[in-house]
């Protein structure tokens, strides 16, 4: 029988990272993700790995940069204000084509904000976040099992495309406990890391950098990066469809908001309302084609987010030309999670 464990979302991330071969973790404490560094500080030394509690998020992302440049699997985790500090390093890693996994268990609101569940970092995660016009892979788990599975996927995608990958969660998926089947790492074919710094030995010098000064070099480099983002769009979008076949209203939401939305969709079905859910799992690359396909037939979309409206912009850009997109959101704040009943009211409002 497959083993099932009962654990927190944050622990599932840490456990999956280790199963994925991550032996290096660099971080700095911040609620609501501190279970991750705590887990890593306990487990990595037993495996011959390294845990460093860095002096800041700035230092920890740069430790990740250095470790990743040597070819090892490494991770950092934080929450919103800490992710802002990591953006410099994320931009440099993107420029230098370095893989690495970054976990953001989001807090609420700009500034210090609060520790409540929030999806207010969507823009920052999928639109680059740091300077220079780049993307990272962004995965949005909605359950503890997905915290586990998507973390492993994040390591693989990041290595394959040489693009940093982020797990975008919040305190709901981070702190709740659910049963998890700790799947073994799938045997994914990974490209050889023939670019890592290693001490040149008798080989050619290798340089990991983002500075390209020669005529046309930087433009060529940037086109290469953007080609990779296009490849991700073509090959790696993931989403979940629920009761969409005969739906007359498409509800969309990601992460923990999607769980509440799913309950509302089921309640609506009990009331004879033909509504379904399209849940993006990859936020970058965004499942544009899935939205297009669904809205070729069903012209109404209700987007639900734990913010004042962010993903809705990508939804609007993805749907069929004559589809209508509505939005319902709650900017983050203590106790501001919408209830399924509240969302059912919204579904009724936009269902015609």
């Amino acid at each position: 029988m497959t083993k099932r464990l009962f654990m927190k979302g944050n622990e599932a991330i840490a456990m999956a990272a280790i199963e994925a071969g991550c032996r290096y973790y660099f971080g700095y404490p911040i609620t609501p993700q501190s279970d991750i560094p705590e887990y890593m500080s306990r487990e990595l030394p037993k495996l011959g790995g390294e845990f460093i509690q860095a002096e800041s998020e700035v230092a920890s992302i740069n430790m990740l940069l250095g470790a990743s440049a040597t070819g090892v699997r490494a991770m950092t985790s934080s929450s919103s204000p800490g992710i802002s500090l990591k953006q410099e390093g994320i931009s440099y890693m993107s420029g230098a084509e370095l893989p690495g996994v970054i976990v953001n268990i989001c807090r609420s609101g700009p500034g210090l904000g609060g520790i409540d569940a929030s999806q207010a970092d969507y823009f920052q995660a999928v639109k680059g976040g740091g300077h220079g016009g780049y993307h990272i892979i962004v995965l949005a788990p909605a359950s503890v099992q997905e915290m586990y599975d998507l973390t492993m996927l994040a390591f693989d995608l990041s290595d394959i495309y040489r693009v940093p990958a982020m797990i975008l969660g919040d305190s709901v998926v981070g702190q709740m406990k659910e049963p998890v089947v700790p799947n073994k790492r799938p045997a994914t074919e990974l490209p050889p890391k023939n670019w890592v710094v290693r001490g040149k030995g008798d080989g050619e010098q290798r340089v990991v950098k983002s500075l390209y000064l020669g005529d046309g070099e930087l433009e060529a480099h940037n086109w290469k990066l953007h080609g990779r983002y296009q490849e991700l769009r073509d090959k790696e979008t993931r989403w979940e469809e629920f009761m969409l076949d005969d739906a007359e209203l498409v509800v969309t939401a990601f992460g923990s908001a999607a769980r509440i939305a799913k309950t509302a969709v089921m309640a609506a079905r009990d009331n004879g309302i033909k509504v379904g859910l399209l849940r993006p799992i990859t936020l970058f690359p965004f499942p544009e084609k899935a939205f297009r396909a669904v809205t070729e037939r069903c012209k109404r979309v209700l987007d639900i987010e734990l913010n004042a409206g962010q993903m809705v912009e990508d939804v609007r850009l993805s749907v069929a030309r004559d589809a209508e997109v509505f939005f319902y959101g709650r900017p983050p704040g203590a106790g501001s999670l919408p209830t399924p009943e509240e969302l059912l009211e919204q579904i009724k409002k936009y269902y015609v």
């Binding site: 290096y24 230092a59 250095g66 710094v197 340089v207």
Partner: protein, 247 residues
Amino acid sequence: MQQVFKKPVSLKDVQTHFCPGCHHGTFHRIVAEAMDEFGVQKKTIGVASVGCSVFLYGYFDIDVVEAPHGRAPAVATGVKRARPDAFVFTYQGDGDLAAIGTSEIIHAANRGEDMTVIFVNNTTYGMTGGQMAPTTLVGQRTSTSPYGRNQGKDGAPIRMAELLAQLEGVGFSARVAVNNPKNLMDAKRQIKKAFRYQVEGKGFSFIEALSACPTNWGMNPISANERVGTEMCDYFPLGVFKNAADL
């Protein structure tokens, strides 16, 4: 005929972009000589910082990772923890290490990371055009201290070699210069000691290298070189501030 003087194998046979009279090139050379002497070229991973020395990989024939401004000690920490067998050094200017990167250098040093830091102090931000640095001397005019550095307003220049020597994690800390043959020979000796620390796994070693920036000081190479030996050495005394393993 016997060859008695040649380019270190760790340096590429190319011309540097440094201005005439700049000491960066001399420091590159003696760092490369130390690398040759210990035979570590092939297992070296250098960490380049932001500033006039960013093109490190164009001159050293070694593997290099480029770090964001000031973050080289954190990047080097990641490199060294993942590859403890590699010889790891950072090469950073004073703007880089003593301003934006103070947190990273202090904590890497305090953890006693087994790495070597070459800190080139030219009392100014060279690459960006000669602005005031944390090491700019009191009274020194720069493009952002046009009336001279004012201690009451700007603070006093930071003495990094002494400051880091206070930390338990630091094995070796010294300040050197290459403004005359005697200092140059001593600089080579101290850099070798700093390297030996890492080669023997004895922990964090730090070299502060006083350097001329004739371009931004608005001086010719000869008077810039003289300023290193006078004004700079007055405030930043040469010497060894810590040698914990007594190498």
